[in-house]
């Protein structure tokens, strides 16, 4: 921890050094350090208002910083220091290995406009994509709807709106700092952040990751009770009430998008919280696995309405919660069997790619590679 002193006011704070932050400066978040916000808010964080004056509400110059002998645990879902740099000579072996690995595994695929002009489908050649239909099993047909989703990495700004929208749509419990610190965060969609380039001025890439709804889902095969199986429309169904909680599915999920209720996370006692919850989504109890469902309650609702009117579901009629809130419209959901749908359109683009395609999982969620158009002179400097 450090002590920050501005004029005669000082505050003890934990620090987190991130790449790309301007030298000689620090960012302090306001809004924390509260004392009377109830169970969740009280005692969390540090009250930065103590450093703030009405004369200089947003920027303060001349702050002094001093290291103090205290430790404070920070909980983060992105503790993975994803820096695309090899470990330095003085660093512990393994440091920064995540970043090196992320790059080597072609999870985020980025190109420049120049690159794109030369080779439009460059993203599809970055990893190993097995030939289509290569499998030991006879193919399954999805004759009706086939839901799919596409995420444009170029559009994603990492704002986290999708994470919050998903949380409120799907009755996802808030687990608190302790659990997050143990690696038990409960998000059905997460935004993986990767830094690329030099430590001083890295490029930051954001990649939202949710259940890929793999057509050959590794999670399903290993479930002993059939609590996660495929629907006729290609959804990777998660049946909470059938789940006994072996966690085998999570272990076998290459994307690690499944979340487990290690404790009874949902508060079942406080009546006011009952009003908060989406009545169309199960409130999960302890001991069951959960994950992104592509907002299946919305799909079902749309299907029922369409069936009552004896028509097809229209493209865009179903919006997943994450899609609905995405300010940059990076997320597109729809029927991939419909060649006219927006999602089919996105998936047909040359930039489209699947992550970990080499595992033959055939994800229904795919990505559009990120394109940058750097000004070469600016980039140099």
């Amino acid at each position: 921890m450090v002590e920050v002193t501005v004029d005669d006011r000082s505050l003890e704070l934990p620090v987190w050094i991130l790449p790309g932050h301007a030298d000689g400066s620090m960012t302090i978040h306001l809004g924390y350090g509260r004392t009377r916000t109830g169970r969740v808010g009280s005692g969390s964080g540090f009250d930065a208002y103590r450093l703030r004056t009405s004369r200089a509400p947003w920027h303060v110059a001349g702050a002094r910083i001093r290291k103090i002998a205290k430790h404070y645990e920070l909980a983060s879902t992105q503790l993975h220091s994803n820096i695309g740099l090899a470990p330095g000579p003085n660093e512990e072996p393994g440091f920064g290995v995540e970043g090196v690995e992320a790059e080597r595994r072609h999870l985020v695929r980025v190109g420049t406009l120049e690159h794109f002009r030369q080779e439009p489908d460059f993203a599809q050649h970055m990893g190993h994509t097995p030939p289509e239909g290569l499998s030991m099993y006879p193919p399954w047909d999805f004759p009706g709807y086939a839901w799919g989703l596409s995420i444009d990495l170029g559009a994603c700004t990492g704002c986290n709106a999708c994470v919050v929208a998903c949380q409120s749509e799907n009755n996802i419990p808030i687990v608190g700092k302790e659990m997050v610190a143990m690696g038990r965060e409960m998000h059905w969609i997460r935004i993986d952040r990767y830094f690329e380039g030099e430590l001083e001025h890295p490029h930051v890439h954001h990649q939202p990751v949710m259940c890929m709804h793999c057509e050959q889902a590794p999670c399903e095969v290993v479930c002993p009770v059939g609590a996660t199986v495929h629907s006729s429309e290609g959804l990777n169904d998660m049946v909470y009430n059938r789940c006994v909680g072996t966690r085998y599915c999570s272990n076998n999920c290459p994307y690690k998008v499944r979340r487990f209720n290690f404790f009874k996370y949902n508060d079942t006692e406080t009546p006011v919280l009952e009003l908060l919850r989406n009545p169309d989504v199960t409130v999960r109890t302890r001991g069951v696995m959960e994950k992104c469902t592509y907002c299946v309650q919305r799909i079902n609702h749309a299907r029922i309405e369409a069936e009552k009117e004896e028509r097809q579901i229209r493209d865009g009629e179903i919006q997943t919660a994450c899609q609905q809130v995405c300010p940059t419209e990076a997320i597109v959901f729809g029927d991939v069997n419909d060649p006219e749908s927006k999602v089919s359109d996105a998936k047909a683009k040359p930039l489209a790619y699947d992550i970990l395609a080499e595992l033959g999982t055939r994800p229904r969620t795919s990505y559009l590679a990120k394109l940058r158009n750097p000004n070469s002179t600016l980039e140099e400097s």
Binding site: S135, P218, E358
Partner: protein, 397 residues
Amino acid sequence: MSEPTASTHERSFPPPADLDGLQSKAWIAAGIGIAASLAGWFLDPTQFYRSYLVSWIFWLSVAAGCLAILMLHHLSRGAWGLMIRRVLEAAARTLPFLAILFIPIVLGLEETYVWARPEAAADELIQHKAVYLNRTAFVFRTVVYLGVWSFFAYGLSRLSLRQDRTGDATLFRRMQVISAPGLGIYCLLTTFAAVDWLMSLDPHWYSSLFGVYFLGGQGIAALAFVILVALYLAQREPMAGAFNAGHFHDYGKLLLAFVMLWTYFAISQLLIIWSADLPEEITWYLERAHGGWKWVSILLVLFHFLLPFLLLLSSDLKRNAKALGKVALLLLAMRWFDVFWLAAPSFEHGHLSFHWLDLATLVGLGGIWLALFLGQLKTRSLVPVNDPYLVEALDNE
């Protein structure tokens, strides 16, 4: 019963005279086979090299398997092994000759192995393995495998012969001490040999069970061969009086155990690869499930496992030398199919086809090998007469 009794020395077990006749027949078969193979080499060198590789691996697995079973026998000191020890030793002593017979494979390396071809340089994955999969290293390793095996084969044979002469009761202990690390080294080397000779035919594919699977197959090949030789010997003096139903019962049980083991490995590998369905692993099986290869796969399931397994369950059959011989013959034939099934789909990536060169090289190499084997067999007494366990072995019920 703990001391060798005098009766052992009274009996001697010289090789029967008609082994010579058999050997001549083997040489004739070898001549015909080799001539045909040479003709094939002129007509279709690629096919010749491929067929030759399959045939060579088949005969090698008989010989090398005999070495493994010999060491297993020394280690376990079971009475079952004594009656066939000389057969095993003779087969194992052919290993250096098989090394010479490997030369054509080296000459045709580019015809059989993708990684040895110039276009392999364009393949990223093969380039990754180039440190391991290159001509020099490949030949060097094969020489090491056969060299080390031959070393053990001759070492054990020499001690065994010395035991015949001196009757030194401590020699069996020395053979045991050699066999313990010997078997371990053997298994390790065979694993790598299987990778080199067979697995690398499809240089993109890998399976860590492959070596063990090949070992299991070798056990069957060797045992089946030994049972056939034992059956042949048991019909002639002096061994006619020595072999009894109990011995064949033991061999049958061992054969059953190896059939089960082989099946176990085969199923394990299939099940693991099938369940995970990883694109880089399944191609190997897909090749063997299409284009006619499916029928070979089914053939292997039925006749390499199911039928022999069911037959060998019966103790009456195991005690009946002739019936057991028929099962052994079937299994030996299936061993060829297995090696063929392991190798051939990776050459062409296409339809199943048999070529007459498959047969020609099999007969040619087989003739040579059998002749060499018989030549080795007839140099010694058919039973290690001074082994302390011999009486027990002869009494075996």
